[in-house]
């Protein structure tokens, strides 16, 4: 009997923890999108006001940040500076894909990020401004969605975890 109680408690706790972890992921995802937005705003300033070349600008912004996005910007800077005969959008796409797992972005968000890189550096400052503005708008929409559903999703995942754990315990007993 004691074993059954201990087992049920363990199952309930693990399922609850799983639910909380999932709810935490939602928050992390939102955090990543907000960090990305901040970095893109900094990049916009480097491009529009200081007219800094792309590689250098990405490097400056990367050094002001941390985490996987800082790594992405730094790696792109390094490869553009080496000028090994690769086009920018290929470098950008490869580096984004390389960090697919760590980035916590959905497929749609990753595709938007890749598309953003495809148009960076092309033509004049006006074009850069529009490219950045379009991407910021897309980011804003994602952030709004995650924020609006943050509370309800956190509760949902946490409750689902605990309830799922209880359900499993009852079933096992």
């Amino acid at each position: 009997m004691v074993l059954k109680i201990v087992g049920s408690l363990l199952v309930t706790c693990s399922c609850g923890a799983l639910g909380l972890w999932k709810a935490g992921q939602w928050k992390d995802h939102l955090g990543m999108l907000e960090q990305l937005r901040k970095m893109i705003v900094l990049l916009r300033s480097e491009i529009l006001y200081a007219h800094t070349p792309l590689g250098e600008a990405l490097g400056h912004v990367g050094r002001k940040s941390e985490g996987v996005l800082a790594g992405l910007f730094g790696a792109v800077e390094e490869r553009t500076m080496q000028q090994q005969g690769e086009l920018f959008y290929i470098i950008w796409r490869e580096e984004v894909e390389k960090r697919k797992k760590e980035m916590l972005l959905s497929d749609r968000e990753r595709q938007e990020l890749i598309a953003f890189g495809e148009h960076l550096g092309y033509l004049d400052l006006e074009m850069q401004e529009h490219t950045v503005a379009l991407y910021l708008e897309q980011l804003e929409m994602s952030i709004r969605f995650y924020r609006e559903h943050e509370r309800e999703q956190s509760r949902l995942y946490a409750s689902l975890g605990i309830m799922g754990g209880l359900f499993l315990s009852i079933m096992m007993c």
Binding site: G55, A57, L123, L125
Partner: protein
């Protein structure tokens, strides 16, 4: 970075391959010309060569590598470090200066607005002019640039046709004035490097040796830069490349009135030639310059044909002396 690497990495992959096979020594290359649909041309030791697909240099155009639009577009990406927007102002003037001080002339279709060049599109012609730093090329000229053995630097104008080495000569004069030479103490030199050709600054740091007492205003319009240097860096000598506008003349007058010495270059073939040009005629008439160093299109770039004083009296000349002579 090796000079060959520095130059070759600005080209599209296919052109890199062709030039790599040709085994070109970029220290001896003056120009590389790319035109869409036309053969790849290299000016090597003052002679023009076609580069074949197999990477051989030849004077006949047979089997020459024809530059494609994609190759030119790719080359522009590398030249601009994937950031054409960062060179908008330079493109309006028709050239970009890259790391190492190499100047890329650009031509294509101009987008004009109110008679002003707004942008350039369909870039189809590139002229890659390689910068050459020759330390000591001004040795023979230096004694003429001082007022006596321990005297002040004289206001000097280097007159030269295009591609005859005036920027190279000016660069070495700056270096020698700044470091001091033949027992003469070095002086503080301010350089207004409008096209980044003299110092070839990369992220603010000069890639060429302009001496230990030199301050550089990089990518700054000449006239404004001269004023800024006088007010902020207190130079004893100011050096500028390719003067000629009325605005330049006014700034030069200001520099000279401040007791600062000036060393400059100008396009021209002789003293008579510059006396034909409206602004320069006035400068020559007012004897603003104490020395004129005239370079000629001799067998080698950098051949000094003549050195004259403010009146145009020849102090040295006729036979010519080349760099390093």
């Amino acid at each position: 970075m090796e000079r060959n690497d520095e130059v070759i990495r600005i080209f599209a992959k296919e052109i890199r391959r062709v030039l790599g096979r040709a085994g070109v020594d970029f220290r001896k290359v003056q120009e590389i010309r790319l035109r869409v649909g036309a053969p790849l041309l290299v000016v090597y030791e003052n002679r023009e060569y076609f580069v074949s697909r197999g990477g051989e240099l030849g004077t006949a155009g047979r089997d020459a590598h024809l530059v494609t639009r994609d190759e030119l577009r790719e080359t522009m990406e590398y030249i601009s470090s994937y950031s054409l927007y960062a060179f908008e102002e330079e493109l309006r003037q028709g050239f970009i200066t890259i790391q190492g001080g190499h100047r890329i002339g650009v031509a294509g279709r101009i987008v004009a607005e109110d008679k002003q060049v707004r942008a350039m599109k369909y870039i189809s012609f590139l002229n890659v002019r390689l910068s050459h730093q020759i330390l000591g090329c001004a040795d023979a000229v230096m004694p003429f640039l001082y007022d006596g053995p321990a005297g002040q630097v004289r206001h000097t104008l280097i007159v030269s046709p295009p591609r005859c080495g005036k920027t190279t000569l000016l660069r070495d004069i700056i270096r020698q004035l700044s470091n001091g030479n033949r027992g003469r103490a070095g002086v503080t030199v301010g350089v207004v490097d409008e096209r980044s050709e003299l110092g070839a600054c990369y992220q603010g740091v000069p890639q060429n040796d302009l001496g230990i007492r030199t301050d550089i205003l990089d990518c700054c319009p000449k006239a404004r830069g001269m004023m800024m240097l006088i007010r902020t860096m207190a130079p004893q000598v100011i050096a500028v490349d390719e003067i000629g506008s009325r605005e330049d003349m006014e700034a030069i007058g200001y520099v000279m009135n401040c007791g600062c010495r000036l060393v400059a270059t100008v396009h021209g073939s002789s003293l008579e030639d510059i006396r034909q040009k409206p602004v320069l005629r006035e400068m020559a008439g007012q004897r603003m310059f104490d020395r004129y160093v005239i370079l000629g299109a001799g067998s080698r770039a950098g051949c000094v044909e003549e050195i004259a004083d403010s009146r145009g009296t020849r102090l040295w000349g006729l036979e010519g002396m080349a760099y390093g002579a």
